[in-house]
Symmetry: C2
Subunit: 506 residues, 2 copies
Amino acid sequence: MSAPRVAAPGSGGGAAEPEPVRGRGLELELGSSTQTSHRLLAYSDALLSIIATVMILPVAHTKIHPDQKLGESVQQLLLAKIAVYLMTFLIVTVAWAAHVRLFQVIELIDDVLALLNLACMMIITFLPYTFSLMASFPEVPFGIFLFSVCAVIIGLIQAVIVVYGFYHPHLLNQQIQVSENQNFYKRHILKIILRGPLLCFLAAIFSFFFIPLSYVLLGLVIVFPHLTRFITWCKTKIVGQRDEEEEHRSLESFTFYLSEPLSKERVEAFSDGVYAIVATLLILDICEDNVPDPREVREKFHGSLLEALSEYGPNYLAYFGSFVTIGLLWFVHHSLFLYVTKATRLMGLLNILSLAFIGGLPLAYQLTSEFAEKSHNEIEAIQVSCVITFFASIFQFAIWTTALHERETLHPFARYGGKEHAFMFAKLALYPCVSLGAFFLTCLLSEFSTAIFHLMQIVIPFAFLALRIFVRISLTVIKSVMSLSGRKVVLLEEEEACLSPTETLS
Amino acid sequence: MSAPRVAAPGSGGGAAEPEPVRGRGLELELGSSTQTSHRLLAYSDALLSIIATVMILPVAHTKIHPDQKLGESVQQLLLAKIAVYLMTFLIVTVAWAAHVRLFQVIELIDDVLALLNLACMMIITFLPYTFSLMASFPEVPFGIFLFSVCAVIIGLIQAVIVVYGFYHPHLLNQQIQVSENQNFYKRHILKIILRGPLLCFLAAIFSFFFIPLSYVLLGLVIVFPHLTRFITWCKTKIVGQRDEEEEHRSLESFTFYLSEPLSKERVEAFSDGVYAIVATLLILDICEDNVPDPREVREKFHGSLLEALSEYGPNYLAYFGSFVTIGLLWFVHHSLFLYVTKATRLMGLLNILSLAFIGGLPLAYQLTSEFAEKSHNEIEAIQVSCVITFFASIFQFAIWTTALHERETLHPFARYGGKEHAFMFAKLALYPCVSLGAFFLTCLLSEFSTAIFHLMQIVIPFAFLALRIFVRISLTVIKSVMSLSGRKVVLLEEEEACLSPTETLS
């Protein structure tokens, strides 16, 4: 959870001062040019989230003639571009996760580290481009070579960062700092960081001899962290409890890189970046393409700007539709992460999957608006929108269920029972239910599909506003039903009363 | 200054919990569905920074034929688009500043406020488009009407937020909460918030009768806050000390909206957003436009991808050039704001001006690369890049000088004297000096202009790395020179020694 914002404007100067980190004095922090890494990481998160979503633009800008059925060739082109988008998203998030881990080991930065990190960012932002080259020319070694070389450079820079960090131990995580076997940690972390680049290096070499092997090697890089975790998990399940002790013993050394949860703050920052850039993707296009030409307005519309703009009506609708949907999904995400106390690896993965679908939303809405009037693909476009919305929201729901089942991942208030739990459940369930409902309704009443879709867009924001009232009513109903059958609810009610004393006041 | 990041991964669960805000228990915060506004504001900042910089895209995408001299018509078109960009930037930052003020009054949020804020954001993100319509059709009332209506809606939503906040006083700023005349505050804040929309409303009405008056009214909205401040300042200067007491009396009520510094955290977040989106603007284009067509590669380049890509060489150069420059300017900004303890209104304005120039950098670099090989505008393009870099960095320098002259705006370490001061000075002075130097060099040695420009790009990152060593050497030189003339430096040296005990160790 984020720290409280600087509160009283009256005491601006005092409150804005940096708080001492881990018990060291402020003097030391500033005087020795050592800085907290907060803003550097926020900036990195912003860059990475933009880069992760950028490959949706080529998909969105694929021109489809409205009269044309979504033909085979267009479909294939679209599918290829969507695959590139999803793969890029995955690769960038892998790089992001590695970056998170790295800066959980190195907690303070100085100027050299800041500059090294910027260099690393520069190469990472170039990755999507090399990847799309690779996708366009799967047979050409140079595409794979370029991609691999970038990955190797990123790995090397990160290795330099680690070596620099261990050379200046006051920058490191407190636990490593006090540990006696720093050298062991250093070698261990370097090994993990350089594992991926080594595979990429081999891929770069093999790209000139035997391309399929290169692809296998590159694929390994992405699945490797999940694979090792999966194998460990399987081993524990099969061999049973016996291993747990051994695992516990080795945990002490692995804790910083493999099994620890991702920093919740950075998961939030990265998600915020993705939501923000995706929400504004359509306005980027609108600002550029939908300003009518003055001459055309004079000649074609007799000087009436209103008439000229009404041509673009569907585009505006698409913008507002996607902004509202993404805004509300952000709202759900925000509410959810208020209760989440730490983000495990699985929750991080689910979050990334949810974000990947959210990246597709503007595209879906654009399709909807383009086909809204005069096409044969109206229903398909609307159904695609519903499906994407469904998956984006169901993965959010999955984060919640995962958090409920793991230990210490949720705030006690949001656990089973109690009003807040019910309310959170309702918030998370709203979008999956509505999008699924809309999907099946359009199947049944295909001639009203557009009307159903627009109705859904208009109703949902109000549904969110009324949700609290609705949940309270249903809880009262359940309570009164339950009170006939037993006295189990008394406990729930008491808990509620003790949790929200102001609720009744306001 | 940002709060310290969640530190020890080992204690993830505990450290990630939200800290109690202003002495209230965590229970109350979560139980009553009241939340800290941190993440909502971060998300708003991200949205607003993207929107502020979005109008640079139409400028960057203006197609100029390389053989064509920057003719009159192209120049005029470019100038018009640049004017639109700058005005949009200014308008969005005015909206942003109002948003900052608003959420300095309302410090905690609940679901209703979050949704209202999202609605407000949606309209604000639509502003740039209505503004560019207005710029394209200055004579048509509908453009002005649309813009004004958006502004009015934004004002009304903000008014609803204020009314809602005062209806639930536990969401408000502590100082207002304990104050006795809450109603006075409410009316005062509403008056300030609705002043702009009222002017816009009048502008919307007059747009159908007398367009010039509409423009005057809209202009008033932007300059109004600065104007009132300027008038107060003049009055104080002319009438003198006598008024100070009166001002002090009225300060108690005005403190929340007019004279208080902007939240430093939000200035940083907004700047980060702008830097991040601007740094990646060129890769957006590269990813979309610079993936060669497989058929073309086969036919034109005999299947050699490398040859096909070498055509795009200048684009890559432009990307890396702009990324490095923006990254380093971010680095300077980051270093500067480590020392800044609060951001006054003037510093905020200077920061926004610096950001506005930074938004133009990718465009300038693109021009440079396009003209690098075969054009008549090579020198002009390079000089434009130098000028933009110069202004972006000189405004950063101005923030520093302003901070030095105001009270309590800088951390004591960075004040006059001491090594950190000299180092900060060197960091801030590097870009203005180099860009100015490059500008005059290209004037003198016009045939080597491209070489000079590329040399500058390569040298600067290393200059930043070597800066600390350089400053230390110059300080030693100055010290030894000074020690011949007096003993004034002893004090400086002592201060230095007491400030950085680790510096000598590491």
